[in-house]
């Protein structure tokens, strides 16, 4: 059975703010109690266009990066379905997930340098698309549209079907729970120590002016 978290767009200034983060954290905790079950996160509009308001190190490490680590360490597959602008923490969250589906309207980017560091996207992006793409996006603030993101491997598919994420989740849900749990742990365990060290370092960098 698939668990679903709807990330609605609360508007500029509130996106991935405390309320949205708290709701996502609750969803991830619920998901953690059902090893092997898929979690579908449906990101509506620009809900994950993150512009950080607080870069204090304890916030970045204890709240923003904690979410990224929880998505990455989830005991079952996490599928993110996006149709709007994905930036900052939103980019990190999307890249930390196992599977990504994008609507043709979706765009991806690091956002401001501070948002990029607060989101912890660098390590995942380097792994998915290579350090060249990471450096280009980080230094220039350029964005990728859905087709470009598909070419770079940032998303697995681009579809205008609003139920594309749900369909993918339903397909993943057919994997036996024990197998899904083992697969998730194998995928997470590989780089966990280095990921933690990198995010810890970035949490301090985020506040450097």
């Amino acid at each position: 059975m698939t668990q679903v978290h709807e990330a609605t767009d609360p508007g500029a200034g509130e996106r991935l703010g405390p309320a949205a983060r708290s709701a996502l954290l609750d969803a991830l905790k619920r998901h953690a109690r059902a090893p092997g079950e898929p979690l579908l996160i449906r990101v509506q509009g620009d809900a994950w266009r993150h512009e950080p308001d607080d870069l204090a190190q304890p916030v970045v490490r204890g709240q923003l990066h904690e979410l990224v680590l929880r998505v990455h360490a989830a005991p079952g597959p996490v599928i993110v379905h996006v149709d709007g602008a994905v930036r900052g923490l939103g980019f990190g969250l999307a890249l930390a997930a196992d599977l990504r589906v994008a609507a043709p309207t979706a765009t991806f980017g690091t956002g401001s340098p501070a948002a990029f560091l607060a989101g912890g996207a660098g390590r995942f992006l380097a792994g998915v698309a290579g350090t060249g793409v990471l450096a280009h996006l980080a230094w220039t603030g350029a964005t990728l549209d859905a087709e470009e993101a598909l070419r770079h491997g940032l998303v697995g598919s681009v579809s205008a079907d609003p139920d594309a994420g749900a369909a993918l989740a339903a397909r993943v849900a057919t994997v036996a729970p024990g197998t899904a749990s083992a697969l998730a742990r194998a995928l997470r365990g590989r780089d966990r120590p280095e990921l933690t060290a990198a995010l810890d370092y970035e949490s301090w960098l985020a506040g450097v002016e």
Binding site: Q57, P58, A197, D200, Y201, W204, L205, G207, V208
Partner: protein, 255 residues
Amino acid sequence: MEPVGYAVHDAVAVATIDRPQTRNALSADVLCALAAAMDRAEADPEVRVLVLTGGPRLFASGADIRELRRTSPADYLLSERLECWNRFARFGKPAVAAVAGYVLGGGCELAMTCDAVVAADSAVFGQPEINLGIIPGAGGTQRWARVAGRFRAAELVLGGRLVDAWTAQRMGLVSQVVPAERVVEAGIALASSIAARSPVAARLGKQALRTAEEVGLTAGLAHERSLLLTLLSTDDHIEGIDAFLEKRPARFTGR
């Protein structure tokens, strides 16, 4: 100007080596000032954790080479420096080294007398004494071998290899790598998190960890058990358990 600055932030004392003209070389007067700072932190009941640092640019480049050139074996054995090094090793409260830039020779040995090392991304660690025709004399050979294993330690001690902060982290010496300009802040943050715990438990925890370096497993386990029994007689253990059960932050008093 004092060679070592001293300040207290809440329950954390910060001792800062401040001899930039000699790259914070550990001359006798610097070592004595560090020992005095430790005495002060040890005696102050308000201080729970000590941070040793050289600031965001460099920690300590090692011994004062010119001073060492003039030192005979008799001078060395009778000098205050040996007592200072013994003082560092005996410091009973938890200590955090927040290091940047050069962490070489005695500087590296000084960091290794602490309980945790937070390193700036600029930090460079090494025991280059071999280049001077000598070897480390303040614990470098013993502590590196325990931290990283004898063979990797040999690269530093025998080969004079220098390693960056990330490598030192992989070798097990460094617990956290942070941007250089925030290394002192990060050291204080780690120290503050330790200071928020029961001071008596932190002290005995440190003692237990240090014992692990000195004795075999059976003796170490017996020592650990005796320290736990001691802690079971403290107010802090009642407060810690009550706070956990009542889902509130604990208020440790150190009794």
